[in-house]
Symmetry: D2
Subunit: 104 residues, 4 copies
């Protein structure tokens, strides 16, 4: 993960793009990329979408993650730490007893 973040930071530093990367526009970009991912599924079942363009689905998941990693890094956050922390919170909110087999 650390290596990935390093590569992403090199990418934007080579292009001098960090000047545009305020947190609000990065969060906005995560949302735009998530929509581009979702667009693969418009008017389609999961199976149809995967059969139609798995390559684009891969690229859009990657874009969502790249912007999320940049935002987290700019905020000084460890993604592993915030993910672990959120899993812990979710585990307390959705206990196994209460949530097993139920859509929440």
């Amino acid at each position: 993960m650390d290596d990935l973040i390093k590569e992403i930071n090199e990418f934007r530093d080579e292009r001098d793009w960090r000047q545009f990367h305020n947190a609000k526009d990065l969060a906005l970009s995560v949302s735009l990329e998530a929509s581009e991912l979702l667009e693969n599924f418009q008017w389609k079942t999961s199976e149809e979408a995967i059969a139609d363009d798995l390559e684009n689905i891969k690229d859009e998941i990657a874009d969502v993650m790249i912007y999320s990693l940049m935002l987290a890094d700019d905020l000084g956050l460890s993604v592993e730490a915030i993910i672990r922390n959120k899993i812990k919170k979710n585990g307390e909110k959705y206990t196994v007893e209460k949530s097993k087999g139920k859509k929440n």
Copy 2:
């Protein structure tokens, strides 16, 4: 990263939630969580949003990543591989010469 995916999968398997996790609804969930992240910045500058609720920003970045990791894993994808591949594609599309210092 592999450890994180393992923990996320244990979380949903303990709750028997994988039955709901088709790719379309996972992509939809990535988009919903990205909006919850973005909501922190509504009517605010980056600085105001971070000062107001960094804790929620952390949680929502984590949720975006958790759903993205579940979707990637269900599609049999290595997130590291798709991110590296996308950085490579971006590097060809936005060459340093063409893109340096420019919003694309």
Copy 3:
């Protein structure tokens, strides 16, 4: 439509909210409300979502439209004119001959 826009503008002027309503945050708000609408359908079929909470679906469609109407009005646009213009463009892009019965 004109009456609706007038009522919406009265609502925000009574609360002195127009100071927050720049175009970027209004567009961002349209997107947030669209996500809240979509959230009704997470992990569900259309039928399940409608049966579960049609009242909330109504409210969220309304919120999407209210923010869209405010943004259009702030930009000096007639929503009827821009909708008619877009239908015309769509008709040229997706001619009946080419598009009949096909997902585009």
Copy 4:
């Protein structure tokens, strides 16, 4: 408004597109179009975005409204009624006394 909805319905019926228009995919489409609207503002101030491509902003507001109108119509809803009802609810939630001049 009634005329607009009639024109939109004619458009989709001529193309035999109503078969694809389940409520879930329409809500998903509202969200996708809202993102395309928002994309105009990525890395930009409101003023820059409007100067750069007001034409596209118009088109995307129109698309958001067209999908919202189709979804409302398919659910048997009057958009004027649901908007008026939501303004009323908002007025009770955000009273003038409590909300004047405050971001909520």
